[in-house]
């Protein structure tokens, strides 16, 4: 499995400390986001318990774990999408470039422009391909002329590897594309507002293997330009696309470290059991 992992730096000592959370130090590259002792409650029910993770700029970070363990919940904390769920309560500290994103002074609109999100099921708007991509730039006033907007649309589609397939039909409805194309459209849509971080919640779970391979390839290409966090229930996928992996279990972070270490030499019993398929 190790050969699947591309240039993960294994020279450094494992990021994991002996006792699972907290205190996690970054790997290589500058720190993009940090979280400290994050708890999330849905009403009375606790879904996340004291999670501390650092997200670095140059690595793709994967969240793995059995379903229902809180991966999506934790991911949604990073762009405050949990705000849209009335019963969700988030506590702890989460920063983006050192700024507390839950501080009253933080503007959620700005935050979400900086931290984009791609969902499990492709969700293009029932609008043209062009309008799907132009949606964010228009909201945030990123283009002052039609040419600028055309430009943003083209570069975003190119970065998402979709330009060649749709350049001659930008006015067609986004919902008419195939599932894989729709998901790349959603990635292009997120890229269009020039975010710093892109969160992906099981972006391939609704796609066939070929479309999945394309998305994984795309993630490789986007690495370094954006800090990428991906939730996946597919361990091979985590091994293929990420350099850092966090293993969640029942709302707690069990182990976080260099992907190759997690998969070849986990320090925690639970991680080993999960990786070797003993449960999950």
């Amino acid at each position: 499995m190790t050969e699947l992992i591309d240039n993960a730096s294994s020279s450094e000592s494992p990021i994991m400390t002996e006792t699972a959370p907290p205190a996690i130090s970054a790997g290589d590259g500058p720190l993009k986001m940090t979280t400290r002792n994050v708890d999330v409650f849905y009403g009375e029910k606790q879904a996340i318990n004291g999670v501390s993770i650092d997200v670095t700029m140059d690595n793709v970070t994967a969240f793995i774990g059995p379903s229902g363990c809180g991966k999506s919940t934790f991911l949604r904390c990073l762009n405050r999408m949990n705000d849209t769920i009335p019963i969700a309560k988030v506590s702890g500290e989460i920063t983006l470039e050192g700024e507390d994103i839950y501080a009253p002074s933080m503007d959620v609109v700005q935050l979400r422009a900086r931290v984009g999100m791609v969902f499990q099921k492709p969700n293009p708007f029932p609008k043209s391909i062009y309008d799907n991509i132009a949606y964010g730039p228009r909201i945030h006033g990123l283009a002052s002329t039609k040419d600028e907007l055309d430009n943003i649309v083209e570069t975003s589609l190119q970065r998402a590897g979709l330009w060649g397939e749709v350049s001659d039909r930008l006015q067609d409805s986004g919902t008419a594309l195939s599932g894989g194309q729709q998901q790349r459209l959603c990635i292009a849509r997120a890229i269009a507002v020039d975010p710093e971080v892109i969160l992906m919640d099981e972006p391939c779970s609704a796609l066939d293997p070929i479309a999945t391979a394309k998305i994984e390839e795309l993630i490789h290409e986007l690495r370094g330009k954006y800090a990428i966090v991906i939730v996946t229930h597919n361990m091979q996928q985590a091994a293929r696309v990420s350099q850092r992996t966090a293993f969640f279990h029942l709302g707690t972070l069990v182990e976080y470290g260099v992907t190759s270490d997690i998969f070849t030499n986990p320090t925690q019993e639970k991680t080993r059991d999960y990786i070797t398929g003993r449960y999950g």
Binding site: R112, M117, K121, N123, F125, P126, Y135
Partner: protein, 460 residues
């Protein structure tokens, strides 16, 4: 013996037939214990006999009730007393009708002595034919009941037959509504055809002069130009009412689905729905007594001439208010049907709530909303009470909302109330107006349902 007692008796006999059928079936069920040897449970055999006993007899009674009056009249006319009757068809008919209602006990005393003399022959004829009907019905009960009872045997597929009859009964029930509608439509067409034989359809549909009272003689009628009515209907129901109902309905739906706390929504929605149940005559009072005078005073104070105490605006506004719950609940449904993934996608792009509503939710929900609005329009143009009370009777072709206009429904009421002959063009015009209204609302409904269905499919 009266009809209802006979009916009860037949039902009781049916019960007895059920019992005997079941007893017989139990008998052979007990002896044929092999599985599948007896096709149906004893109850089904009971029902089989009971339905055979009751069904033909009841059918016969229905036919008999339709046929016997003519036979009774013939018998009465054959009596010696009938010789004194006048030969004039009309006078004769009146006398016979009077005699018949005295004979059947609906009337006590005759105004015409000739009627009195016909009462006795009538009485005899009625009791004679009643007796025949009763005896025949009871004979049918016995004959058919015994016939069915004799046919009972283990392999009789009684269950299948009962199942089929149940299905037919349900089918019949569902057909009644449809057939009634078809019947209404046919009678509208029939009466309208009579109207159009007197007034040209072109004059009716495109004429601009509506004044049925001034109509003089047969043929060459004028004053049946319905354009002012169509205009008034559209002006009130499709323009003014919708200017009120669409924005308010849509905004309240948006508030309720997107902003309102669940608790607030939980009691606000039922209140809106109650609004839809207020009788329209109550809205009519409100329009005529409160809104119309207030609007007139307002118009006068800002110097609009021709302001009337009956105005298109008053009727339209109140009708719009009446329609709000309708629009808002349709809009509510279609907004709620937009997948939440759309909303999340937009919010995750950094759009605010209102941007999300404006740019994603409403465009996505639009077909559903349009369907709702079309249904609302079709309701508004068929609405009668409010416009009768508040819009007036003057067939004006005006775009001034403060003046009085009239609508199709108002004029139908006008044409049909009071003493009317049923073959004058004036009365028949009501059917032609009704036909137009029927066709327009039917089309609106069809289009609306189609739009809504398309929209639903888009999110499957």
């Amino acid at each position: 013996m009266t009809g209802s007692i006979l009916f009860l008796l037949i039902i009781v006999l049916g019960g007895i037939a059920w019992f005997f059928g079941r007893v017989k079936a139990r008998g052979f069920s007990a002896t044929n214990t092999k599985r599948g040897a007896v096709h149906s449970l004893p109850t089904y055999h009971g029902w089989y006999v009971a339905l055979w006993a009751i069904g033909p007899a009841l059918l016969f009674l229905i036919v008999w009730n339709i046929a016997s009056p003519a036979l009774i009249t013939d018998a009465a006319l054959a009596s010696p007393a009938a010789e004194q009757l006048p030969s004039d068809q009309f006078a004769r008919g009146a006398i016979l009708a009077e005699a018949r209602s005295i004979a059947s006990g609906q009337q006590v005393r005759a105004f015409n002595p000739l009627s009195q003399s016909m009462v006795e022959p009538y009485r005899t004829a009625i009791s004679y034919y009643q007796m025949i009907g009763m005896v025949a019905a009871l004979l049918l009960v016995f004959a058919c009941g015994v016939f069915a009872w004799l046919r009972l045997k283990p392999e009789l597929r009684a269950r299948t037959k009962i199942e089929r009859i149940t299905m037919m009964t349900l089918l019949l029930a569902s057909l009644i509504a449809t057939i009634t509608t078809v019947g209404i439509f046919a009678s509208l067409i029939f009466e309208s055809a009579r109207f159009f034989s007197m007034v040209s359809p072109i004059d009716f549909l495109f004429g601009t002069e509506w004044n049925p009272k001034a109509v003089a003689g047969p043929r060459g009628e004028t004053g049946f130009g319905a354009i002012p009515l169509f205009w008034g209907t559209v002006f009130i129901g499709a323009i003014i009412a919708m200017i009120v109902a669409i924005p308010l309905g849509l905004m309240s739906a948006i508030y309720l689905t997107q902003y309102a706390a669940p608790g607030f929504r939980a009691w606000m929605k039922p209140i809106l729905e109650v609004l839809a149940g207020v009788p329209t005559v109550v809205y009519g009072y409100f329009a005529a007594l409160t809104v119309a005078p207030a609007l007139r005073d307002f118009a006068v104070s800002i110097g609009i001439s021709g302001a009337s105490s009956e105005s298109a605006l008053a009727a339209g506004v109140v009708m719009g208010i009446m329609i709000i719950p309708f629009v808002s609940s349709m809009a509510d449904d279609s907004i709620a049907a937009v997948p939440s993934a759309m909303r999340d996608g937009s919010l995750a792009m950094g759009a605010t709530k209102s941007e999300t509503i404006k740019k994603v939710l409403i465009p996505a929900a639009l077909p559903g909303v349009v369907g709702g609005v079309l249904l609302a329009v079709s309701r508004a143009i068929g609405e009668t009470m409010i416009v009768v009370m508040a819009a007036g009777l003057a067939a004006n072709m005006t775009a001034n909302p403060f003046s009085s206009v009239t609508t199709v429904t108002t004029q139908i009421v006008q044409l049909l109330t009071g003493d009317q002959e049923f073959d004058s063009p004036k009365t028949l015009a009501a059917f032609a107006l009704g036909l137009v209204l029927f066709i327009v609302t039917l089309l609106l409904n069809l289009i609306a349902l189609r739009v809504v269905k398309k929209y639903r499919e888009a999110y499957e």
